[in-house]
């Protein structure tokens, strides 16, 4: 039996991309308007009595002390309870989980969870890369996110015979899905040959094996299942969620062909939802690199450990495959505006479950969609949320 103590009544996002012309608050306003406008029976935003803001790093646009409290006035809710949540790459997905707990506890009635991230206002050298390893005792010179993920790919290739073509098939699929997603940063097809021939970043990862840096915002409105009946006749429930951490140093990893935080977060979420991986109809997972999606689909239990590359190149994760993964285009094509990423993924899950995903709609048989992020030092934190159309 699923948890089902919270319902999603609205969700939306803005077109992801390089949004130099929009401020942080303007991006938030766009996502807020989209979410409010999506509520089936209409919605007075003053019903919202708490806001959780998901922003991972204000320093990427020059704000050391971003606290989230610039958002309420930007969305016409000055005075409302508002808290910023940060939890590395799962910032958005964890803000959603925190919002769910606020509703389920009965403390808050209608909650807005809004993710906003500006990634492009500063150049990569000044922003993400320069600050990625600051203060770390070991990763202080010569390392970056792809440098730390690349050895996982090398090891996966060594242990399981995974090939660069298999890695590339993830980028090909997600770019194809991105073409069908009007909100995606990249809306162009790529071929296996193009991925293989792209400039190398760190072997075996080339440019198209890596997600872009993207500005974006996404918002979601949640309430109790009882209140949800006022707003929609097609409710989506929160079936369960899970969070798990792992050692922050790669030195302490028990494996280099999987991410233990993902395994444990999903185990907790499946248990709370009362389902197994086979019950999931569609998944939005953390594909910061092509190898990451291969690790994810194994760690989430969709395919056997070591079979992720083969499953990808066989099309098992395509829109019409056995387990469609990243129908939105994923981080690779839709983009990865960190705080917004998880909430944008949840929005896609909500659309898919409600049959509103247009050309990228997948077959929904069991009524379960899974959303996943993993990140932080040593990929040491993961969050999994599961949504369902199956009522309490």
């Amino acid at each position: 039996m699923s948890w089902n103590r919270v319902s999603v009544i609205g969700a939306g996002l803005i077109h992801m991309g390089e949004l130099f012309e929009q401020s942080y608050e303007q991006m938030a306003r766009g996502a807020f308007d989209a979410a409010v406008g999506s509520v089936d029976n209409g919605f007075d935003p003053t019903e919202i009595d708490a806001v959780f803001v998901a922003t991972q790093r204000g320093t990427l646009w020059g704000q050391e002390g971003i606290g989230g409290n610039t958002i309420p006035s930007a969305i016409g809710l000055a005075g409302v309870a508002c808290t910023r949540v940060e939890n590395a790459c799962p910032t958005g997905s964890d803000a959603f989980r925190v919002g769910c707990m606020a509703v389920a506890s009965g403390v808050h009635d209608v909650v807005l969870v809004i993710g906003v991230e500006k990634m492009r206002d500063k150049s990569s050298d000044e922003g993400l890369l320069a600050r990625a390893a600051a203060g770390h005792p070991v990763y202080t010179r010569g390392e970056s996110a792809p440098v730390l993920f690349a050895p996982f790919a090398t090891r996966h290739m060594h242990e399981f015979g995974t090939t660069r073509e298999m890695l590339a098939s993830v980028a090909v699929k997600n770019h194809h899905n991105g073409v069908l997603d009007p909100y995606a940063h990249f809306r162009n097809e790529v071929t296996i040959e193009q991925v293989l021939a792209a400039p190398p970043v760190c072997s075996p990862l080339h440019l198209l094996d890596c997600c872009p840096q993207t500005d974006g915002a996404a918002a979601i409105v949640i309430t109790s299942p009882e209140r949800a009946a006022d707003f929609t006749d097609r409710p989506v429930f929160v079936a369960g969620f899970g969070v798990a951490t792992d050692h922050p140093y790669l030195h302490e990893k028990s494996t280099y062909v999987g991410l233990p935080a993902t395994v444990e977060a999903s185990r907790r979420a499946y248990e709370m939802a009362g389902i197994s991986p086979a019950d999931v109809d569609v998944a939005e997972v953390h594909d910061c690199f092509t190898i990451t999606e291969i690790l994810d689909i194994e760690d989430l239990g969709f395919v056997e450990k070591g079979r992720g590359g083969i499953a990808s190149i066989e099309g098992q994760t395509a829109l019409d495959g056995r387990i469609p993964v990243n129908p939105s285009g994923g981080l690779l094509a839709k983009g990865h505006p960190i705080g917004a990423t998880g909430i944008a993924q949840l929005t896609e899950c909500w659309w898919q479950l409600r049959g509103q995903a247009d050309e990228r709609q997948v077959a929904v048989r069991n009524g379960f969609a899974l959303q996943h992020n993993v990140g932080g030092r040593g990929s040491g934190v993961s969050v999994v949320n599961i949504l369902t159309t199956n009522g309490p």
Binding site: A132, L148, P200, C202, K253
Partner: protein
């Protein structure tokens, strides 16, 4: 003679007069487990009975990459090698290993294979702030540099 190049960070390694670099980790008396870098508490049990412990210098290549797009601050040659080396840990339970990340002196991924013998060496790393002393992993050809 003292090493004229400043260390990447204090406490990560010792450099002998002959140039031999030894990484310094920590071992918890109660858990018996080794970790790196040296931490205030055992990362597996939280016990605060950690003592500094020299790490082995000879290991096996576990995973690796050749970096073509270096992050800012790095002023050395491109491409360069980076990866993970696995060390057997003396006194640990059977099969217990420690894996350490670091630079690899070979900048051609195709020239490396899983399981290659590797040795810890001292390396001067050029950065925007001047050279720093750090460790790297080099193919272990038998001579103990």
């Amino acid at each position: 003679m003292a090493d004229p190049t400043p260390a990447l960070q204090g406490g990560l390694f010792r450099l002998a007069p002959d140039g031999t670099l030894t990484l310094v980790g920590g071992r918890s008396r109660s858990s018996g487990r080794l970790h790196f870098p040296l931490a205030a508490v055992c990362p597996w049990t939280g016990a605060d009975d950690v003592e500094p412990s020299d790490l082995p210098r000879h290991g096996r290549l576990w995973a690796w990459t050749t970096v073509t797009a270096p992050p800012p601050g790095y002023a050395g040659p491109v491409p360069y090698g980076f990866g993970v080396v696995e060390f057997d840990v003396p006194g640990e339970a059977d099969g217990e290993v420690l894996r350490i990340v670091g630079r690899i002196t070979v900048a051609d991924a195709d020239a490396l294979s899983a399981g290659d013998p590797m040795v810890v060496v001292a390396e001067e790393l050029p950065t925007d702030d001047g050279p720093v002393r750090t460790w790297a992993f080099a193919p272990d050809t038998g001579g103990d540099r």
